[in-house]
Symmetry: C2
Subunit: 196 residues, 2 copies
DNA sequence: ACCGGTTGTAAGCGTCTGCTTACAAAAGTA
DNA sequence: TACTTTTGTAAGCAGACGCTTACAACCGGT
């Protein structure tokens, strides 16, 4: 390494984006705290001092990742598909069979536990809960939505962290069927499973 | 501090136990990675070098905490009460209204995400899943049990980490009613809610 | 009284972390 | 060309981390 490479291409925008993308991937894989700025810079193929020039701090970069990539995806999804889309995104974690999927909850659950990234994460989870709460007319809609969202997070946690047991190796379609069926007792406007 | 204190009482067993108890509390509050050996020693009122004399490493101490305190509690609980007991233990997290409650899942969910403590945590979650799987005769019992366990973890995650939203401030009885009702569609042998 | 093993203490080692600084090379402008 | 500004690089700082070491105080047995 560092053999030839007299100089980089001098493209600030490209460097910024490379950092954001590398960070998004690493935050999803390892979480906020376990990802180091040196790793991010290395994956982006960039000197780590640039991370601080462009984003100021690791925390600010995290916020940009969540606000940019994650919230955009969510807002483009209609409420009644949020559950299934998020669930399938979570079930596909690790296997990058889809180029661009809902990585938001993955990033959140891997990062939130630490505590540093909580403020940004809380905002994200609130948006998900709000979307889910539109699927019921019950007066405790907010609580029901939170419970369903909690289920999503728990499934992601069990899958990607424990990585063992029946859930880890289960067929996504089967999991979807069970979960959606069960969730319909809490959110009555949830559509039938599309099959897919 | 450190004013008089010529010497400690020289009681190895008490020191060990003080370390285990302090560690259990801190692991439940902050998780494995965010808890430092210096904090554990400080809360135990003990020199941090003793942690290494008695346990060898932070990881070994963690294993002793999980194997000792947590698994014992679980094994003393009949399968049909595991869900409600664990759920209520999780809902009581933070508020130490009960002196000794099911802290196991709390420790697990706060520690597992990091990754280091995964091996020990996986064993713990397997025991929970096995207990829950006894509550259904469906052929996908293991998957159903994992999904319910995932829900528990997700609820604990949302409650203790996000700390905002409807779930965080909800009445434990209300949450129990909703969750147990819904879980009964997956685990048919689950008893009716005891009211309590 | 003395000695060997146990328990507690103070200091620090090596490494990793987020972040900063000083500087060199490229691009824009005249 | 000469200059300023922008982009990239190398080196390192201060603090925290898990863990180790050298040593002092206490204890029981002889």
């Amino acid at each position: 390494m560092t053999a030839y490479r007299t100089a980089r291409k001098r493209d600030a925008a490209a460097t910024r984006q490379a950092l954001v993308q590398a960070a998004a991937g690493l935050f999803a894989e390892r979480g906020y705290e376990r990802t180091t700025v040196r790793e991010i810079a290395a994956r982006a193929g960039v000197n780590q001092a640039l991370l601080f020039r462009y984003f100021g701090s690791k925390q600010s970069l995290f916020e940009e990742v969540v606000a940019g990539e994650s919230l955009r995806h969510l807002r483009e999804t209609p409420p009644e598909s949020v559950l299934e889309t998020a669930l399938r995104g979570l079930l596909a974690a690790g296997t990058d069979e889809q180029g661009q999927r809902h990585r938001a909850l993955e990033i959140f659950l891997r990062s939130a536990v630490g505590g540093t990234a909580t403020k940004t994460g809380a905002l994200l989870s609130e948006e998900y809960a709000d979307a889910l709460a539109m699927l019921t007319d019950a007066e405790d809609a907010a609580l029901r939505a939170d419970l369903v969202l909690a289920w999503l997070l728990g499934i992601g946690l069990t899958r990607s962290v424990v990585g063992r047991g029946a859930l880890a190796g289960a067929d996504p379609d089967e999991v979807c069927a069970l979960v959606l069926d069960c969730a319909r007792t809490m959110l009555e406007k949830l559509p039938q499973n599309g099959g897919r």
